[in-house]
Subunit: 357 residues, 2 copies
Amino acid sequence: MALDEHFDDFMRRDWDTGADGTVRFAMVGLGWWTRDYAVPATQQSEYCETTTVVSSSPEKAESFAEEFDGVETALTYDEFTDGAGTDQYDAVYVATPNALHLPYVEAAASYGKDVLCEKPMEASVERAEAMAEAAEDVTLMVAYRMHTDPAVRRMRELVADGFVGEPTHVHGHMSQRLLEMIPDRDQWRLNPELAGQGASITDLGVYPINTTRFVLDRDPVAVQSAMYSGSEGFEDVPDERAAATIVYEDDVLASISASQNSYEDGFLRVTGTAGQLVLEPAFLKPSGLTVSRSGIDATYDLPEMGEAQQMQAEFDYFSHHLLADTEPPADGEYGVVDMRVIRAAVESARTGERVTL
Amino acid sequence: MALDEHFDDFMRRDWDTGADGTVRFAMVGLGWWTRDYAVPATQQSEYCETTTVVSSSPEKAESFAEEFDGVETALTYDEFTDGAGTDQYDAVYVATPNALHLPYVEAAASYGKDVLCEKPMEASVERAEAMAEAAEDVTLMVAYRMHTDPAVRRMRELVADGFVGEPTHVHGHMSQRLLEMIPDRDQWRLNPELAGQGASITDLGVYPINTTRFVLDRDPVAVQSAMYSGSEGFEDVPDERAAATIVYEDDVLASISASQNSYEDGFLRVTGTAGQLVLEPAFLKPSGLTVSRSGIDATYDLPEMGEAQQMQAEFDYFSHHLLADTEPPADGEYGVVDMRVIRAAVESARTGERVTL
């Protein structure tokens, strides 16, 4: 490709071949993420809209219906599960606490609705497997929004094209100060019954774990890890912070870490025999990509993709698949693999032993 | 400290209180490192000089004596061991293959000579322990030249001062293409009898492992690791590439990797609860330090410290200790700890189990 085309096409949506129609979404779980990013994303989307909102609180659902144009139906969880308003939506976005994903995906699938489910899939491998099975007759996609980030897609292409030679090492990290962002010790992310086995590896570690998998186009095969919890508020979880050595196919050695109680940071660094790719910051606002080869480094300062734009790309991508009648690669079986990595990391931290997947 | 003083004093040698005299060195092991960096460093040094060279090859030793001003005595290893020319030098620099460090340190110590010994200390923990014991009555320093790198010393001070809050995570990596740098499959770094248990973790991994220890001022306590060798030339070593999760005191989780067959790279990233320090590149030519706190990043573009300047600082530092009659902290007992980490990494890669130090 000529260099000018490389620049002109850097932000391209290579997956977007055009499609006719509009997917009508029901939003299940109306937390700040849904309010600030998901519903606005559908309002900006070319391929979808939000018509229905579902919450435990009728008042919250009603307030969404008033606040957002196009939202015409407000349902409680019970009404949704009982099949109310199924003629008002075509697909469902599930953004409840992890341990509540399964029942709403089951309900949606029972009414033939396709599902975009937030990651991690569920609170355990078993429940994620049950979700994949329940959704066999509909389209289920796990919401890995890095898969539609342009810089991440270019990294994946560069690895596939051999730009870095054979990939050998990855370093990836994601951290934030959860209790400063959400000053509430009773929040679901710190409650194993709602979040699952971990707090950092589950909620943040899944970004470098899965993005490594996506960029390398290789699956994880073995996990070793160490975890620590000692600060106030983290008594019920094993991993205020976590670090893992994860071996991916072809013996790529990945050094992955995550923390809910560290300075906000995210990066992904892919080293090969012949070159290197560094995305920094990564995950929250990927905007700097440094590519290196033959002793030369070039840093791309990219248009920032904030959470709102990331979510719009993801809704467009998922809806495009539905309208074009194609299957997204990140389906239930795919998502279960990351759940197995999370389980292996928690187990390895406890036993000290390598867990083969 | 006022900001102008911070800049003006950034490169300061905080350890240099001045000293009178000149330490006369015997250089043992005359490979390219000694020729290109070590002897020239002593020629630039304020506190030392090279008067004696020692090699298996009388011709090589003679050629050094002719090439470098001030080098007046050329010895074979046997002559050195037998005590020839001991009135011509005060201290010894040992830069032979790892498994030959011990006999020359023993010989030097038997003649009351102080020793600067290259890292890793030796080919095994047992031999390193024997070295520490043999050198009990002289001053022995292991040649961790990052300890005199100004950026690394400032990182250590910033961590000690609480700039990053409580340190939580480290990522560190060092890699090169060994067989492109030295196109010889019979070289000692790939021969376990001369290099010791590993090739990457031993020769390169020791940089991030020890620099993490120095910057954090905390010792390693547990190691998990994975290794891979599969390329031509790496048949005799376990770790063409290696990655380890190393827990340091206070549960700092360090993700460390090294490769003798990857694109040349080095970085060190220290994350804490309140901030972050990133040295990149690190180890070979540390020149960029990014410090982050309160959502603000500042990147220092530092005067480059190439290998020659690094070695000069190290020789100055060691000689200053001898002239001032003070003991360098990186003594034999200190160096043995890193040897235990290397042994634990090789063992953990083989067994899959966490090794507690």
